[in-house]
């Protein structure tokens, strides 16, 4: 149980998104706030992050557009990414799922953990960088959600929160597991 609790409550590697909208972003920036979430299409913890994203998006009205970058390994078979997360992300208003083959874009935004979120304002400045859940797969009120809603409402928010999710990078020291 303790092991499970530690697993759930241990944040992933923090994101180091660029301070301004990168030129090599690969995705279009919105007119107001633009949120970029890096996600693993098969990370169960990200399901909670998407749920929180939906809340945030709902709270932002149309001031925020979001892009969810789904990591797709280079050798991923077709459709590998088409999971419930992909479909959920597509169903959230003003959210656009994006395939990120090889995680190139994610690396651009400095994301290491699924669920990492970077929010840029209309000027392209980084306003927030962190996760939207309090633990892995844990829905509910959390600092990330509160920060983003505060940002939209007041333009002020905490800049950094821990990210809870699966690592987006395969550990190099391990043998790569062949995908299904």
């Amino acid at each position: 149980m303790a092991w499970m609790v530690r697993f759930e409550s241990s944040p992933g590697a923090p994101a180091h998104a660029p301070a301004s909208w990168p030129a090599q972003a690969g995705v279009a920036r919105g007119r107001d706030y633009t949120l970029v979430m890096s996600a693993h299409p098969r990370c169960p913890c990200t399901r909670a992050s998407l749920d929180e994203l939906a809340i945030v998006m709902a709270a932002s009205g149309k001031r925020m557009t979001a892009r969810v970058l789904f990591f797709v390994p280079e050798d991923a078979p077709p459709g590998w990414w088409e999971t419930d997360l992909w479909r959920t992300a597509g169903s959230i208003p003003n959210v656009t799922p994006v395939l990120d083959r090889g995680g190139t874009l994610q690396r651009v935004f400095g994301a290491e953990t699924s669920g990492s979120v970077a929010v840029y304002d209309a000027a392209g400045r980084l306003q927030f960088n962190g996760g939207l859940t309090a633990a892995r797969g844990q829905r509910g009120e959390n600092p990330g959600r509160l920060s983003l809603i505060s940002l939209i409402e007041s333009g002020e928010a905490a800049r950094m929160t821990p990210v809870f999710g699966c690592p987006l990078r395969t550990p190099t020291a391990r043998d790569a597991r062949r995908l299904d």
Binding site: P44, S114, A135, G137, A176
Partner: protein, 1054 residues
């Protein structure tokens, strides 16, 4: 049988516990399964929601799946094991509840504290509520609350899904749980109550069910028994409905009526088993019962005719009952074929008729054989008497006396047999008349005293003073018993005494029970024979019959007579010492005495000293008691020397004896010798001596008179005789001495002015005609009639007698009495002779060949009627039938009188006197002269009119006493109504009857009443009152006469 409340309550608790335990087990098992399902579900859920955790393109098993695979089974294993091994226990339930909550906690955790998952908690509580155990809910709820408190405090995300939860949020959750618990606990309690109620109901139901089951078992058994009874009953049992259709037809009915059950069920019974003639009545009966409820044959047994299948009719006994079954009226008929019974009854009736005929034949036989025996007996006894009247040598006379004695004994045997036959046939009827007890006993003992004297025995009698004298009963039968018992005592006693005592056993206002005892000092009876002697024809010793004679019937007859008189007869005896026969009799008290009691001048006797000299102690005691009762002062001594001493003492005391009773037969100095010595003494003036003796020798009386003995009394002395003798003797002594009382001052009993001297032994010689009592007065040695005395107009008699000896005897008797006699031997000859010549009377034997006496009489009477009815020849029946009904038959047949064979001369002459034919010779007249004359009734005249027939006199008196009250009542009514014609007719009739009894004063009174009818007015009333007074005076006298007549009849018969 319903269970008692306590038993039912126990059963309800048991049922409730069983139900609860069953529920616990089932829910335990359900939760065990649920645990498995939840573990699997958790794993599946975890595997489906979070199967893997990724690191780039690499993946690993998600910790949730691992947790589901490890924690889930870890939580579930304990309850599952508990259920497996301890299902139904409280611990299991709590472990299940707690584990269920922990499963919920796990699910909440693995779902990230989602609020939706919290519903698992409520669902689990709801499921746990299936246990209906509030405790389980509470333990489970505590588990939930603790989980929320701890995780909410330390891992809020685990339970609430947020990193920072309100520290009191656990309390909110706990509140909701408690809220839920409230309802669930309430529901549990309600459910338990309902379950308890159900258990109660079920227990009650079970109890009722058991009772019902038992009842059903009993009902089934009862029905089975009833069915078996109906099926196996020997009587036919047929049930029909209100329409008369057969509903039930048992096996016996099948056999009896010849139908098979199946073919009669539903059919009209009337058409099947009731004869056509009775069907309409049957249907009408059912119809009437249905309309009115009245049934003639219901609930009782009747005998009717029934019909078999083959149409034959037969008698049955039918018992019909009605009943209701399910509201339907049914009739059940119990039918028994009584063909055999009817046959048996008819056979029984035939047998009864045959038995009655046999009994009648037996009676006829007894009567006939009696006649056949009595007829030659008549010849034997009569001829013996005649021979004894002739000149005989002493030896010849002795032989003839033996013949006469044997004949009498044989006659006695016949009488016993006749009595026995009557008793056995139940035809012996007791008379109910008033009689004086002491006089009856005295008269009974008088002839027996002679026998006692002959054997030199003392015959004593002691009638206790508290025994009433005037009683109502049958004195002749009482006398018969006494004669038998005393006679037996005398027969079997060689020396000593025979004592008759009469005491009072019991009494009330109307009745007395007398206890009579006859004690002897004879041979006694062995103990083993004391019962058998009461059986017919048995004596204690077979040799006694030869030695003492007798039929052996006497005690049997006496015993049965006593039983008829409401008493019993028994014996106490010691062999060699003597016997005492006891008997009791039940007699009624007389309402009034026959005659007024003598008014004794008791003052004469009071304080007078009397000496009793008798060697017999018993007699001394009896005499002393008698004298003492009258106020005398008796002194009793046992012999002459003691008497002299007592007399001398009394003289010295200045109070000499005035009266001495002397026993004649005493050892050494007998009574006469002592009397002689006393008479010679000059110091005994005014001494009155009485002699008691058993002897009737005339020379004794003569000697006694010479010695100055005032009176001789024959033992046993009866109290009244002794009193009379004492009073008269004292009176004579006083008169001789110039003292009072005068003769007329001593009233004597009105019942007949008895002389104290009995049986002609009085010293004054005034009792000579007393010998007429035994009917032997005719056997004197002087012929009553001298042949050839033609100066007398002799009546001419026709004698019809087929037996030559009897004919010769009768002719001899009649001719000696002065009659002319024409003898014939048949009934036809009698009819012819009476036609050819006018006889003064006819003596007709009733049993003759061809034409018997009855038929001959009928022809004679018929001829008289044809001749105008102006003549009526008296016919006297000669009959050997001793039964009274035979005598009545003679009278009914037209005969005027009768005489029973064997007859004596006086009896034959009295029978003729009854019809007005008197012997011309004066001496012959004397033979039948009455014993006493004078008084209200002229007895001489009366006896002449009765022809000396005491039985006839008794019957006529009885008839008169029965009838005259009615006649008097009719007369009274005629007087009151002034019905002159009736008055004259009734008075005339009554006068005739009174004249018959020679009651001249009463007859005159009746005549005056008859005459007064002509004058009317007060004369009638006065004449009637006078007649009433005369009849009142006459009735006691008639009663006395009837008693005497009965006694005389018995003596004559026996």
């Amino acid at each position: 049988m319903p269970l008692s409340p306590s038993v039912a309550g126990t059963r309800a608790d048991q049922l409730f516990e069983e139900q609860q335990r069953s529920t616990y087990v089932r829910i335990d098992r359900a939760f065990a399964i649920l645990m498995v399902v939840q573990v699997i579900g958790g794993v599946v859920l975890a595997a489906s929601l979070t199967p893997w955790t990724y690191a780039g393109s690499e993946r690993s098993l998600h910790p949730h799946v691992i947790a589901a695979l490890t924690l889930g089974p870890a939580i579930a294993v304990a309850p599952i094991l508990m259920v497996w091994f301890r299902s139904g226990t409280l611990a299991t339930r709590h472990v299940v509840g707690i584990s269920q909550m922990l499963i919920g906690a796990l699910l909440i955790h693995v779902t990230g504290g989602r609020i939706e998952t919290h519903f698992h908690v409520f669902g689990s509580l709801a499921c746990l509520a299936f246990y209906r155990d509030s405790g389980v809910l509470i333990s489970a709820s505590i588990t939930v609350i603790l989980d929320h408190y701890l995780r909410g405090t330390y891992l809020p995300m685990s339970v609430y899904g947020v990193a920072t939860a309100n520290p009191w949020r656990w309390l909110e959750h706990a509140g909701w749980v408690a809220f839920t618990d409230i309802f669930l606990i309430w529901a549990c309690r309600e459910s338990r109550h309902m379950r308890q109620a159900l258990a109660d109901q079920r227990a009650l139901l079970e109890a009722n069910s058991e009772a019902m089951k038992q009842h059903l078992v009993r009902v089934e058994a009862s029905e089975a028994r009833s069915a078996a009874i109906v099926r196996t009953a020997l009587d036919c049992i047929i049930t029909i409905d209100a329409q008369g259709r057969i509903c039930e037809f048992n096996h016996a009915a099948e056999k009896t009526f010849g139908y098979v059950r199946e073919e009669v069920i539903g059919h009209d019974m009337a058409d099947l088993i009731i004869p056509p003639a009775l069907r309409s009545a049957h249907r009408e009966g059912i119809k009437r019962y249905l309309q009115t409820g009245v049934a003639r044959v219901l609930d009782r047994r009747v005998e009717v005719m029934a019909m078999r299948a083959n149409g034959s009719e037969f008698p049955v006994e039918l018992a019909l009952t009605s009943s209701s079954r399910g509201g339907e009226l049914l009739f059940t008929a119990y039918i028994r074929d009584i063909t055999e019974r009817r046959r048996a009854e008819s056979e029984l009736l035939r047998a009864k008729d045959a038995a009655i005929a046999a009994s009648r034949a037996k009676s006829e036989f007894v009567a006939n054989i009696s006649h056949e025996i009595r007829t030659p007996m008549n010849g034997i006894l009569g001829m013996t008497d005649l021979v004894l009247e002739t000149d005989l040598t002493a030896r010849q006379r002795e032989f003839m006396q033996m013949v006469k004695s044997s004949g009498r004994a044989l006659l006695s045997v016949i009488n016993d047999v006749l009595d026995f036959s009557r008793i056995e046939a139940g035809k012996l009827l007791l008379e109910v008349i008033e009689f004086p007890l002491r006089q009856t006993i005295a008269e009974t003992l008088t002839p027996l005293a002679l026998r006692a004297h002959e054997k030199n025995l003392e015959l004593l009698c002691d009638v206790h003073r508290n025994v009433p004298d005037q009683l109502i009963g049958d004195p002749s039968r009482l006398r018969q018993v006494l004669v038998n018992l005393v006679g037996n005592a005398l027969k079997f006693t060689e020396e000593g005494e025979v004592l008759l005592t009469v005491g009072l056993e019991n009494q009330n206002q109307h009745e007395v029970v007398l206890h009579v005892a006859v004690r002897d000092t004879g041979i006694g009876i062995p103990t083993d024979k004391q019962q058998s002697i009461f059986s017919p024809f048995i004596q204690a010793d077979g040799s006694t019959t030869r030695r003492f004679g007798g039929t052996g019937l006497g005690l049997t007859i006496s015993s049965q007579l006593v039983e008829l008189m409401g008493g019993r007869l028994w014996v106490e005896s010691t062999e060699g010492k003597g016997s005492t026969f006891h008997f009791t009799v039940n007699l009624r008290r007389a309402a009034a005495t026959v005659a007024a009691a003598p008014s004794i001048d008791w003052g004469t006797l009071q304080g007078m000293r009397a000496l009793i000299v008798d060697d017999n102690a018993t007699n001394r005691r009896i005499l002393a008691e008698m004298l003492g009762n009258w106020g005398l002062h008796p002194t009793a001594v046992d012999g002459a020397s003691a008497a002299n001493a007592a007399i001398n003492d009394s003289i010295q005391d200045g109070r000499p004896f005035r009266l001495i009773l002397l026993d004649y037969q005493m050892p050494e100095t007998d009574g006469l010798m002592l009397a002689s010595k006393l008479a010679s003494r000059r110091d005994l003036p005014g001494l009155t001596m009485l002699l008691l003796t058993s002897s009737d020798r005339p020379e004794d009386a003569s000697n006694a008179r010479e010695l100055g003995i005032a009176s001789i009394l024959r033992k046993p002395v009866v109290q009244s005789d002794l009193l009379n003798a004492v009073l008269m003797a004292l009176q004579r002594t006083a008169s001789a001495a110039g003292q009072i009382p005068t003769p007329h001052a001593i009233p004597l009993p009105a019942s007949g002015a008895r002389e104290p001297m009995l049986n002609g032994s009085g010293v004054n010689g005034s009792g000579a005609n007393g010998s007429g009592t035994n009917g032997s007065g005719a056997s004197g040695h002087t012929p009553a009639y001298v042949e050839g005395d033609e100066s007398i107009d002799r009546p001419h008699l026709l004698l019809a007698e087929d037996n030559d000896i009897n004919q010769a005897l009768a002719v001899h008797i009649l001719e000696r009495a002065g009659f002319r006699v024409t003898p014939v031997g048949t009934g036809e000859q009698a009819v012819t002779a009476s036609k050819l010549k006018k006889f003064d009377a006819i003596l007709m034997d009733v049993h003759m060949p061809k034409l018997d006496g009855f038929a001959a009489t009928a022809l004679i009477r018929e001829r008289e009627v044809l001749q105008g009815g102006t003549t009526h020849v008296p016919i006297v029946a000669l009959t050997a039938h001793a039964m009274s009904e035979d005598r009545d038959r003679c009278l009914r047949a037209g005969m005027d009188s009768y005489v029973a064979k064997p007859f004596t001369t006086p009896e034959l002459l009295r029978a003729l006197a009854v019809v007005g034919i008197h012997p011309p010779h004066p001496q012959a007249k004397a033979i039948i002269a009455p014993r006493r004359t004078g008084g209200i009734i002229d007895r001489a005249e009366l006896m002449a009119r009765m022809g000396g027939d005491e039985g006839l006199l008794r019957r006529l008196i009885d008839m008169f006493l029965v009838n005259y009250p009615k006649q008097l009542s009719e007369l009274h009514e005629a007087v009151r109504q002034r019905d002159v014609e009736t008055l004259r007719r009734r008075s005339h009739t009554l006068r005739g009857a009174l004249s018959l009894f020679a009651a001249s004063e009463a007859a005159d009174a009746a005549h005056r009443l008859e005459k007064s009818a002509e004058f009317g007015g007060r004369a009638i009333d006065e004449a009637f009152r006078a007649l009433q007074a005369e009849l009142a005076r006459l009735e006691p006298t008639l009663n006395t006469l009837a008693l005497e007549a009965r006694h005389m009849t018995n003596l004559t018969d026996g």
